[in-house]
């Protein structure tokens, strides 16, 4: 809501300057987002009265005007169509500066044009360039235009919260300022409405359903002359963000800003039967609204109709067909209250949000229609002439009875944290126009004014109390509660432990959008029935790239990679812990957490001392194994797997404790090409479930062994086709009790072994927990171990 500071001052005395007022309003809950200083874009312009007009004999359409500006008289050559003797307008004196440039006296033939008579557009006060500006007759000729009230102003832009329809008006904001500063709300000018002949049978109003339209008031104004509004009206509309149209429409919009109550003016002659019917739209009905678009009306839309068809979407926008135009003579003026929910639904169904609908859907003041109607009628008559017919049509089912709300000072104190006395409550709430009814001091009853539909409960009054007393009155102290220190849930601990491991290994944490671009499923080259394609769809996505819910973290990681590579930031070693939303067949998306890793270079950056270390599948596998160990998943079992995303022969499925953990592998060249990446990339995607399940409990301590270990190396020669896993399983199966640990330290193929063979070299540590091992014992055990391996694997030793 854009609020003119000058306009506010017609309703309440304000001692604060605009900035201070903005601060005061902000601290009362009406947040002022911006204070716009409205300053004239001109200088050297004065108010001038046209004294004489003398057409130029040689230039058709041009006239020599003599204007009076206080004690000066000036001549000005002018071609404006609205020149008239007696007209008060603006004259730019020689030396004046206008937005378009400097004004100098000019010699035109034998005569000198001393001043320029200006249009709104030339003064930068509006977009009307059809003639010279017409100033109100109350101004004094000679007065500098920049000093005329309304030329200099401040506009406060208030972010009105949805619970405060009353603040969507000048008078409503003024009422709050009055309450905050302890001033009286001033009444607007007395309504002078000369009435003509009876409204009689000429106009009629029928309301079909009062639950959708609790009140409908109307007046008929006969004999208006539609034309532009005077400058001050247009100026205020513009400052309020509304485009001037014509004097009748402008009058309704002026009151919309002033009182916050939307009104609508119909061309009475265009209404079939001269009457309006408030009813639901019928199947298939449509309307062309004043913005020129044809709208098909959903069946439940509340409309204003004449005998034949809808002429307005009730409370939202009028119809083009019955709009006020130059030919309009008689106006049917509507001032009604509509059901907020109905207006909101209509606005949503038609995709429309207007000044009117924004107010009606927050709840209109049920008592205001006749008052707003008379104000508007008086203004129309003032601006456009004509006479209001005697009599007001006022259709309503029941009278408004103000609701009463009880507030207990004690409960207010309990919520606010400081003592609240009955007197404070009474004094404070009465400033807001709430009337204290009878009742005891513990339970104060207040009647709620009709402009505050948001005040229905005790807490609402408590908030008003706090708001007016000032939130800075509220003390700050820590609650008295039982001490507690709840344990961290696995949902926090486990990702933290994962981060600790992976950050230590040089991987960076990333967070990517939870959305999925359908194109990225194609980039991954997924087959049509791949489960990753079964993504949940967002019905109203912001854009096409974000219309699905992600089923995998992989596209996000690849995009981070390609983004960084494009900026020549490399290597990219990253991980993400986040939710994905998979679907089984046609079931709705189900949420689960994944952990995905991407490695595209050495975990330790190369530097001047070390050449670039090689990154391969086993870099990734090492990271995963360390992670599995630290997070207590037990040994990870990798087995070969084929997957479209990964290069054939470099992909594994991973299990932990017999449970599927995920996949890891080298990203296929085809996928990398789709992301324009030319470096080798290794990816793993793991289920978070097993990590979460393995969490908890302190690790048990194992006593440190005292006796020295004995080391033995052995190199097994096996067929090339035998996977390491078979060897590893045999080692485990025949593992001697004295074998403390072992590691593979070399994999060899070449001249030292025969063709088609490879050699695994192991380093073994033998140790006894009870005594120092002697050579003979170790030799015996080691020999038996080797024999067992020979008989199981058919291997030899070298």
């Amino acid at each position: 809501m854009k609020v003119s500071y000058n306009w506010l001052r017609e309703f309440v005395e304000i001692e604060l300057d605009p900035e201070a007022l903005a601060e005061r309003l902000t601290l009362s809950g009406a947040e002022v987002e911006r204070v716009e200083k409205v300053t004239p874009a001109f200088s050297g312009v004065v108010v001038a009265r046209v004294a004489a007009i003398d057409p130029d004999p040689k230039k058709p359409g041009w006239s020599w005007c003599r204007v009076e500006a206080g004690d000066r008289e000036l001549t000005a050559l002018c071609a404006a169509p609205n020149l008239a003797v007696g007209l008060l307008t603006a004259a730019a004196l020689p030396g004046a500066v206008l937005p378009g440039g400097r004004v100098e006296a000019k010699k035109m033939g034998e005569r000198i044009s001393e001043a320029v008579l200006c249009s709104e557009q030339e003064l930068g006060l509006g977009d009307d360039e059809g003639g010279v500006i017409e100033l109100p007759p109350s101004l004094a000729p000679g007065q500098p235009l920049a000093e005329v009230p309304g030329i200099v102003d401040s506009v406060l832009e208030i972010d009105v919260t949805p619970n405060r329809p009353d603040l969507l008006s000048i008078r409503g904001v003024a009422r709050d300022i009055a309450a905050l500063t302890g001033r009286a709300l001033l009444a607007p000018g007395k309504i002078i409405l000369p009435e003509g002949p009876e409204i009689g049978e000429e106009a009629g109003v029928t309301v079909e359903d009062y639950s959708l339209c609790p009140r409908y008031c109307a007046r008929l104004i006969r004999g208006v002359r539609v034309g532009p509004s005077p400058f001050p009206i247009r100026r205020r509309l513009r400052l309020g963000g509304i485009k001037p149209v014509n004097n009748v429409v402008d009058a309704t919009n002026y009151l919309l800003l002033e009182l916050g109550h939307p009104l609508h003016a119909f061309d009475h002659a265009a209404l079939k039967g001269g009457e309006v019917i408030v009813r639901a739209a019928r199947e298939g009905e449509s309307i062309v609204t004043i913005d020129g678009s044809e709208r098909v009306l959903p069946a439940e839309t509340l409309v204003i109709a004449d005998r034949e068809k809808p002429v307005a979407v009730a409370g939202v926008m009028g119809g083009l067909y019955s709009e006020i135009g130059e030919g309009t003579a008689n106006v049917l003026l509507e001032s009604a209250v509509f059901n907020p929910v109905s207006i909101r639904r209509t606005g949503r169904a038609l995709g429309m949000s207007t000044e009117a609908s924004r107010r009606f859907e927050r709840g209109a003041d049920p008592e205001i229609p006749p008052f707003a109607l008379d104000r508007a009628a008086a203004l129309i008559v003032e601006l456009a002439g004509g006479r209001a017919a005697r009599g007001v049509i006022d259709r309503k089912q029941e009278d408004f009875s103000p609701p009463a709300v009880i507030i207990r000072p004690e409960q207010a104190g309990r919520l606010l944290g400081y003592p609240v006395s009955p007197d404070l409550v009474k004094k404070t709430l009465s400033r807001l126009g709430l009337d204290h009814l009878e009742g005891d001091q513990d339970r104060l009853r207040f009647s709620i004014p009709p402009w505050r539909p948001d005040l229905t409960r005790e807490v609402d009054l408590v908030e008003e109390l706090a708001r007016l007393t000032g939130f800075d009155r509220i003390p700050a102290h820590l609650p008295t509660a039982e001490m507690s220190s709840p344990p961290d849930p696995p949902e926090r601990m486990v990702p933290e432990a994962v981060r600790e491991v992976l950050l230590g290994l040089g991987l960076d944490e990333v967070i990517t959008y939870s959305f999925l671009d359908p194109k990225s499923l194609d980039r991954l080259g997924l087959e049509p029935d791949n489960p990753l394609r079964r993504a949940g769809r967002i019905t109203n996505p912001v854009n096409k790239e974000q219309c699905l819910l992600r089923t995998t973290l992989i596209p996000g990681l690849l995009e981070v990679l390609s983004g960084n590579y494009n900026r020549k930031v490399m290597p990219v070693n990253i991980f993400e812990w986040g939710a994905v939303f998979g679907r089984e067949n046609s079931s709705p998306p189900r949420e689960r957490m994944l952990l995905s890793l991407l490695i595209s270079g050495p975990a330790v950056r190369p530097d001047w001392r070390r050449p670039e270390p090689e990154t391969d599948f086993f870099t990734l596998k090492g990271i995963l194994e360390l992670l599995g160990g630290r997070l207590r998943l037990g040994p990870l079992v990798f087995s070969p797997r084929e997957d479209l995303i990964f290069q054939s022969g470099q992909c594994a499925r991973i299990e932990a404790d017999g449970v599927l953990l995920g996949v890891a592998g080298k990203v296929s060249a085809r996928v990398l090409e789709a992301y324009s990446i030319s470096a080798p990339v290794f990816l793993a995607e793991l289920e978070a479930g097993p990590f979460l399940a393995a969490a908890g409990g302190a690790l048990p301590f194992r006593k440190l062994d005292q006796y020295p270990a004995v080391r033995r190396d052995m190199a097994l020669v096996v067929d090339e086709s035998l996977p390491y896993r078979t060897v590893g399983e045999a080692l485990e199966r025949h593992r001697p009790e004295l074998l403390e640990d072992y590691e593979l330290f070399d994999l060899y193929r070449g001249s030292q072994v025969s063709e088609g063979k490879k050699s695994f070299a192991f380093r073994l540590n033998y140790r006894s927990r009870y005594d120092t091992l002697c050579e003979a014992t170790v030799n015996k055990v080691h020999q038996e171990f080797q024999d067992a391996l020979i008989s199981e694997l058919g291997c030899s030793f070298r």
């Binding site: 408590v462 230590g504 959008y513 959305f515 939303f581 950056r605």
Partner: protein, 339 residues
């Protein structure tokens, strides 16, 4: 004899001075002090002297031997030092060369900020709860006093799924879920992703992170809320931070407040970050609306509570002076490596 001793000693000393390495030293030692060495031989010859000369000459010979032995030790030390010096001069490095490129991964700034905030509230006894990112309209709106057709629903542009559920627009549904399964009193926080139908720009993101808190007890007031949030803001932004509560509107709290902190850059005098206001809005808060209590079966006459919620991106941006929210989701490593 005495002269002979003096002569030998002089000879040995001058030989020691010119010895160049350990080997030469050793052979010198053998030739003077070894079993068949010249000093040893001389000492042995003392026995052949007349008895009255023996003690004096014996003492003199032994003293000289000790002296020589000391000289040998010194020479040995000298040689060792020299060798050490040669070695270290060979191993001298250019200390101005850069150190090795060791690295450690970086926590995403959102996670880092979240963890910091969670730690503060954990210390105040708030238990961390979590909930789903896809929510029903009931938990996201209705239970939070935002019935269908309520204008407050317009405050949040919601992303809808085909099955009628929504991507949660805030983490508040977790408050409802927690209250449903917990008897009061309670103190909880929840944190996570939330979504709005916003086009990404410097200050908007369709996905962002929130942290919310809730405390319910028999007498919990706005003053308690102020106390808790003051502790929080001072821990996070520094002890000098001032707080300002402004009345506002949220459907799920009444009274409601927006909370500002004194500007982290200008401390309140006005700068470009705070648009010359001196204050920065960091969170929304209020007393739990009785309708919310009714939705979860708490008696609003018996219990009162406060709730608060903040955007983690906003907090991280203020803390680090980040000017574009999209940077968090670009994941440019040059950005991530700064935190």
């Amino acid at each position: 004899m005495e002269e002979e001793l003096q002569l030998l000693t002089r000879e040995a000393r001058s030989a020691l001075e010119s010895v160049a390495d350990g080997e030469g030293l050793e052979s010198l030692r053998v030739s003077y002090l070894g079993r068949k060495g010249r000093i040893t031989a001389l000492i042995r010859s003392v026995g052949a002297l007349p008895a009255e000369d023996r003690p004096r000459m014996g003492q003199a010979a032994n003293r000289l031997k000790k002296e020589l032995e000391l000289e040998f030790e010194k020479a040995e030390g000298r040689l060792r030092e020299a060798a050490e010096r040669r070695k270290t001069s060979r191993e001298a490095v250019d200390v101005t060369l850069p150190g090795l490129a060791l690295s450690r991964g970086r926590r995403h700034p959102i996670t880092a900020t979240l963890e910091e905030v969670i730690d503060i509230f954990s210390g105040l006894g708030f238990a961390l709860e979590s909930g789903p990112e896809i929510e029903t309209e009931y938990y996201n709106f209705d239970a939070l006093n935002m019935p269908a057709d309520h204008p407050a629903r317009d405050m949040q542009d919601t992303l809808y799924l085909e099955d009628g559920r929504v991507l949660r627009t805030h983490t508040s549904p977790v408050q409802i879920r927690t209250m449903e399964k917990t008897e009061p009193p309670l103190r909880m926080i929840c944190a996570g992703k939330a979504f709005r139908a916003d086009t990404a720009d410097a200050s908007h993101s369709p996905m962002f992170h929130q942290l919310e808190g809730l405390m319910v007890d028999r007498v919990v007031s706005l003053a308690d809320l102020k106390g808790v949030l003051t502790v929080f803001a001072r821990r996070l932004f520094g002890e000098e931070t001032r707080l300002r509560f402004r009345p506002s509107f949220f459907p799920f709290t009444e009274p409601s407040a927006e909370v500002d902190i004194s500007c982290v850059v200008c401390s309140g005098t006005g700068c470009s970050l705070c648009s010359r206001r001196g204050w920065l809005e960091i969170l929304g808060a209020g007393m739990v609306d009785p309708e919310v209590f009714r939705a979860v079966g708490y008696d609003p006459e018996e219990w009162t509570g406060f709730a608060f919620g903040m955007g983690i991106e906003r907090i991280a941006m203020l803390k680090h002076g980040i000017d574009d929210i999209r940077l968090f989701y670009d994941n440019d490593l040059r950005f991530l490596h700064q935190f």
